[in-house]
């Protein structure tokens, strides 16, 4: 009798412990912390998440909120292993996947298998909420479809009818080129050609001369980070910008900062957010700047916003259970300094995007004063439509 009483006591004790562990929110950010995309999100992305946690009061459901971070080194296997490890051993309640589409897709699979909420800001691939969508994914900041419909359509409307692409030779670049080509053709433009460049090529001059020889009006850069920076720099050096207009399909504020306006003025691109949009964005960005001495990229702002959105959902659901939190997320509109919109059934956070242009040097009044908004792009127009979607959750 005594033995069985003990056993029951033990069982109750374990149960209590288990629920306690379940109730504590643990967020694990797994992103590129050291390589080519680390200025886009990286350690300052982690800082933005921590800011959101602190602003929330550091606690939810009566328990302290914990943030863990890891560097996936742009390797999908490391990303997936880390996510699995933290879910199994540390009781992670939310996987925060970072930059790099390959790593992001790998983590989405793990999160779905383990039933954990999965947020992603940094990765571009629209597959996250299309053919590889899961009930637990929230793709928050932007995707390749939005970039294509934003920049591609705008450039064609401005008269840029013939395109030549410089494409990073891997899944992300191919997707971006394909999505943009489709938009260009739909709008009545033509794609004259494309050259597939190896990732991290140091010299783009040869590819650029090929682009110039094509006699296309628009040079479409279907690449990111260091590749974008080096192609823009070489385009300037070889005077390509005199005969062609460059359209950056994925440009981050950190790229513009690194190149300087001298090399980028007039560069048209699409972004999910910019620090100098209104008083609210400026106020938050100033806080971020005081801590980091850099203005935030749209991804870092989205990191803050996504964290707050998640914590509010946990609070409203009164639980960290992934199904309950996801239900809450999908029925509650988001409205903050980053964006206003809703999380759709396929996990896509639909919100307005901005078509922006890099300012002329003479227009820039202060440090980090780089962009002007050409047009606000309504979310429903730039993201994947129901007709285009292959996601079973949205049928």
């Amino acid at each position: 009798m005594k033995k069985s009483l003990n056993a029951i006591a033990l069982a109750i004790g374990t149960l209590a412990l288990a629920t306690a562990a379940q109730a504590q929110v643990k967020i694990g950010l797994i992103t590129d912390m050291s390589s080519l995309y680390s200025d886009v999100e990286g350690k300052n992305g982690a800082l933005a998440i921590q800011m959101a946690i602190d602003d929330f009061g550091g606690k939810v459901l009566g328990q302290p909120i914990e943030l863990m971070t890891a560097d996936h080194q742009n390797k999908p296997d490391i990303a997936a292993t880390k996510a699995r490890e933290w879910i199994d051993t540390a009781g992670l309640t939310m996987v925060f996947g970072g930059t790099n589409s390959g790593a992001a897709l790998a983590m989405a699979k793990v999160a779905a298998e383990k039933k954990r909420v999965y947020f992603n800001n940094g990765a571009a691939s629209s597959a996250l909420t299309n053919d590889q969508c899961t009930p637990y994914t929230v793709h928050y900041a932007y995707d390749t479809v939005a970039l294509a419909k934003g920049t591609g359509a705008a450039v064609v409307e401005q008269g840029g009818k013939s395109w030549f692409f410089l494409t990073a030779d891997y899944a992300f670049g191919h997707a971006l080129e394909a999505d943009t080509s489709r938009v260009v053709k739909e709008k009545g433009g033509t794609v004259v050609g494309a050259v597939r460049t190896p990732l991290n090529a140091s010299d783009f001059s040869s590819f650029l001369l090929q682009a110039q020889n094509s006699k296309a009006q628009i040079l479409g850069l279907a690449n990111a980070g260091g590749d974008t920076i080096n192609s823009i720099k070489a385009a300037k050096e070889f005077g390509i910008d005199k005969t062609m207009k460059t359209a950056g399909l994925l440009v981050f504020l950190s790229d513009i900062h690194s190149l300087g306006l001298k090399n980028t003025e007039g560069l048209l691109h699409t972004t999910s957010w910019y620090w100098d949009l209104n008083d609210e964005t400026r106020k938050w960005s100033k806080r971020f700047f005081d801590k980091t001495k850099r203005m935030p990229t749209d991804i870092q702002a989205a990191d803050y916003s996504a964290t707050t959105t998640y914590l509010k959902a946990v609070q409203a659901a009164g639980s960290t259970d992934a199904d309950k939190v996801m239900e809450q997320l999908k029925k509650t509109p988001v409205n903050d300094f980053y964006s206003k919109g809703t999380i759709r059934a396929d996990g896509r956070f639909v919100h307005d995007m901005y078509l922006v242009e890099a300012k002329k040097q003479s227009e820039s009044k202060q440090p980090w004063d780089y962009l002007k908004v050409v047009k606000t792009l309504p979310g429903e127009q730039v993201y994947t439509t129901k007709a285009e979607s292959k996601c079973a959750l949205w049928k």
């Binding site: 190896p198 040869s206 690194s258």
Partner: protein, 291 residues
């Protein structure tokens, strides 16, 4: 695919520009390997240091490009001397692998240091005023700066070759590697010679870094992307062969340039393909002697 003659010519010329970087970097590696028997993996990081120093001098002290063309190699050269005295000295008797590991560790330290300060997106550096603008060659627009890169690296490469192969000092160096004890018996300070050689080899890397600063975005990772190709160049040319390194560097730059026209996807791998073929046919490299 139809490729016009002018287009081909311009691509050849661009290949030559890239080849100049390969030549000057692989030359430094070859000199170091030839005399120290160390596979200097830190070469890429020191190349990056040359570029970053150039940027720092301009941004913090307004020291111009031309001064840094001399100063950056000197500073990095001294840094190399310190590395050799403190670290490399102790591992000459060990297997090559230890030198490789040690210099790889150094690379991670140096790159990590600069990354923590400047991030990875890189720093912009303008082409010096005297070299801005371009030549119109009829078939292409060649930026003056790119032409300067070819000229400057050819001069430095051939001066180095001349110093090592044709002068008395060079003769000492070569003798010192063949039989250090005998040379020492003649009263020549071989350890000092080796230290200075390493310093000179890495100074060449820094020189290439300064040349690259206005062309490539200066980033803590810029050396990583180049160094693997440069190692392949050294292997193809033949480890330790001075002229081999120079000619192979230029030649591979041109071949790579042509690949970018005919099959761009392969442009990052063509060098390694050639390396495999060369190793199969001539294991010591195109210009190397089997010992």
């Amino acid at each position: 695919m139809q490729i016009s003659m002018p287009a081909l010519l311009s691509q050849l010329l661009l290949g030559l520009v890239n080849g100049s970087f390969y030549a000057i970097l692989s030359l430094g590696l070859a000199v170091i390997f030839g005399l120290l028997n160390v596979i200097n993996f830190a070469h890429g990081a020191l190349f990056m240091m040359g570029a970053v120093l150039t940027w720092m001098a301009m941004n913090y002290f307004e020291i111009n490009y031309w001064v840094m063309l001399v100063a950056a190699p000197l500073i990095v050269g001294v840094f190399g001397v310190v590395i050799e005295r403190l670290l490399l000295r102790w591992i000459y008797k060990l297997d090559h692998l230890y030198g490789l590991l040690l210099t790889l560790g150094l690379t991670l330290l140096i790159e990590g240091f600069f990354r923590s300060i400047y991030g990875v997106s890189g720093l912009a550096y303008d082409v010096p005023d005297a070299l801005s603008g371009a030549f119109n060659l009829g078939f292409m627009i060649l930026p003056k700066y790119r032409a300067w890169v070819v000229v400057a690296s050819l001069i430095v490469c051939f001066a180095t070759w001349y110093a090592i192969e044709k002068t008395r000092l060079g003769a000492y160096l070569r003798a010192g590697t063949e039989n250090p004890r005998l040379v020492e018996a003649f009263g020549i300070n071989v350890p000092l010679m080796i230290t200075l050689t390493y310093g000179f080899g890495v100074a060449l890397a820094a020189f290439a870094g300064v040349l690259a600063a206005p062309v490539i975005q200066i980033s803590p990772l810029m050396g990583q992307n180049l160094i693997i190709i440069v190692f392949a160049v050294v292997v193809i040319g033949g480890m330790g062969s001075i002229m081999g390194a120079i000619l192979t560097g230029l030649g591979l730059g041109v071949i790579e340039g042509l690949t970018k026209v005919f099959y761009p996807e392969a442009s990052s791998t063509v060098v390694f393909l050639i390396m495999m073929l060369v190793l199969l046919v001539r294991p010591a490299g195109l210009f190397g002697n089997e010992k």
